[in-house]
Amino acid sequence: MSDLQLTDWRNHALALESEVNKVVVGQHTPIRLITTSIFARGHVLLEGDVGVGKTTLLRAFTRGIGGGYQRIEGTIDLMPNDLVYHTYLGEDGKPHVSAGPLLMSGENLSVFFFNEINRARPQVHSLLLRVMAERSLSAFNAEHYFPHMIVFADRNQVEKEETFEIPSAARDRFMMEIPIVVPNDDAIMEALVFDTKFHNVDALVDTVKPDVLQFDELNGFSGVIQSNITASDTLKKYALNLWKATKAPLDYGVKVSGVDMNRLVLAGASPRGMSMMLRAARVNAWLNNRTAVLPDDIHAVFHSTIAHRLVFSPVYEMRRTEIARDMLSGIINAVAAP
């Protein structure tokens, strides 16, 4: 039964990918990673410049999996309660309260997009992190649950003024950090500019076949994937070595040009981070029609699940993206399996 279930769901997952690929072109890798995070039930940090299609991407996925989609913009004056409710004076002249973005879709909330999360204050981060971890919220003397919610947050990496960098403990709550970059292919770039179908986002998203997946079944099926995709002893040992290498890269001969490796890493990947990596790797193995995790599956998610968790010396924080990429590539090149 499980085999049939796995095959059936895989076909649906690949159909969803195909649908999203039609509306967001040239983003096969991010789309595969988002699909992975949806089935691994992990929250995602999106990294990319403005206008590269992050919102379109998330809306397309939301249409494909169903459920509610909510979005909020991070601003310096955003307060935690802005996520929960709005107050306003109604036409009757009396104050009114309406549900904020978190509560608006109720338990059906499937995608919550926090744009420019680093513009919001740490108090807002705290609330969001609790919701991410517990998928519940106390408000109006009641407990609200969001069992199917996945948070996507975008960081503005360019502007640093009036921003609050997400601390490493908060970054660790996200399963992945996925870079969204403009495609290099000239034909795709030309299509994005001149093809009018990409100009109207609403109409574009409407072309995605709705409800390819059932958002309220994802949690249950995620467990099926995790229990059916196995990891051999060799694979476990390999993952363990990767983990150790993130803590002490020099022990594995990993070096990054222009970096004092003795001072670089303050903290490697966390146990939570490694377990999330293995969850994502299992999903990747399933998407590739395998019954066990291979090193290739770990490689597919290694950068996106580990890079944002590494804690570097402050002196190297400005070059974080570049250094993390080189260091993790070096680790993959240095650690052997079997």
């Binding site: 060799t234 694979l235 490689h299 650690v335 052997a336």
Partner: protein, 332 residues
């Protein structure tokens, strides 16, 4: 009584007459005609520097043609003191050894003469070995008795020690070659040192060649191939073989090689490009052995044998050779 004495004297005279005839002094006999005797002497190379007690040997090889033959009683007598103008010169024949080879037309005599010096002088003085006179008799005519002279060999007797103020240069004989320093020992040491140097260089080459006797013999795949040939054909042996080949790939590419970075490896090591499909087969086998037992591969029922063939082909690529054709039965 008187009669008896006369008779005895007559008998004695009769007996003594032939002896006296034979004891004729050789020097008084006529010389043999030319062509009947040839001589070859082997003389000592040292002609000077002899002093009391020294023994000087000289070989004489005489070839005497028929009808003449050597009267062997005329050979020099051991213990005879050489004289010059009646004076003893202090050289004595210490020993003589005579052999002969008789042929139909000629006879060859090998005469080895050993003289000993019994004189000395405070200054260098000339001396000579010989000459020696030999008697030859015509076998067809007993009255034809002739002599042959073995030429003398000039030598110089040197003092045991120089006394007084002597200028060596003035006292040096032009017959004495310059004394050279002996370098036999140095030559031997040089040979030993050269031997050690050659052995050291070979050792260095061996070390630089990663402990191999032939160039590129110590490559990762060459080593893997040698190991795989000895690996047992069992499940555990298969795991070891796959692991060894993974190690060879990693060492060759100087990075961990997986299925997902195989193209990078082949771009870096284009020698292995002809084996791309087989390398993919190998990774499929590795996947089954190490990660996913349910996975399938198309190698066949005897993957251990296939791995040995595969390792050999990889070794060929490593050495820049065209890979050995795959045995069609491998893996079957």
């Amino acid at each position: 009584m008187t009669k008896f004495i006369r008779f005895f004297s007559l008998i004695l005279l009769f007996c003594a007459t032939p002896l006296s005839a034979l004891a004729i002094d050789s020097q008084d006999l006529p010389d043999i005609k030319e062509g009947f005797v040839t001589i070859k002497t082997i003389d000592p190379t040292q002609r000077v520097g002899y002093t009391v007690g020294d023994v000087i040997e000289r070989d004489v090889i005489l070839t005497i043609k028929a009808p003449y033959t050597l009267v062997e009683t005329s050979l020099p007598i051991k213990g005879y003191e050489k004289r010059y103008r009646g004076q003893v010169i202090g050289i004595e024949l210490k020993n003589i050894h005579h052999e002969k080879d008789v042929h139909k037309d000629y006879t060859t005599h090998h005469i080895k003469l050993a003289y000993q010096v019994f004189t000395n002088s405070v200054v260098a003085k000339n001396a000579a070995l010989g000459p020696e006179y030999l008697n030859l008799i015509n076998m067809k005519n007993n009255k034809d008795l002739v002599k042959y002279r073995i030429p003398s060999l000039g030598i110089a007797i040197s003092p045991l020690a120089i006394f007084g103020a002597v200028k060596v240069e003035d006292n040096m004989s032009p017959m004495l070659e310059p004394l050279l320093m002996t370098h036999t020992q140095e030559k031997q040491w040089l040979k030993v040192a050269l031997g050690i140097l050659v052995i050291s260089l070979l050792g260095l080459l061996y070390i630089l060649g990663v402990h191999t006797w032939l160039p590129r013999m110590g490559g990762p795949f060459a080593s893997a191939y040698r190991t795989l040939r000895k690996t047992p054909n069992s499940a555990e042996g298969l795991k070891q073989a796959v692991s060894k080949l993974h190690l060879a790939f990693n060492n060759t590419g100087a990075m961990s090689i997986f299925n997902d970075n195989l193209d990078t490896f082949l771009a870096k090591k284009s020698n292995f490009s002809p084996l791309k499909y087989e390398i993919q087969q190998f990774f499929a086998l590795s996947r089954q052995v190490y990660f996913e037992p349910n996975a399938t591969h198309d190698i066949g029922n005897n993957p251990s044998k296939w791995l040995v063939q595969f390792a050999r082909r990889c070794r060929d690529c490593e050495r820049g050779l065209t890979p050995t054709p795959l045995d069609s039965k491998a893996g079957a």
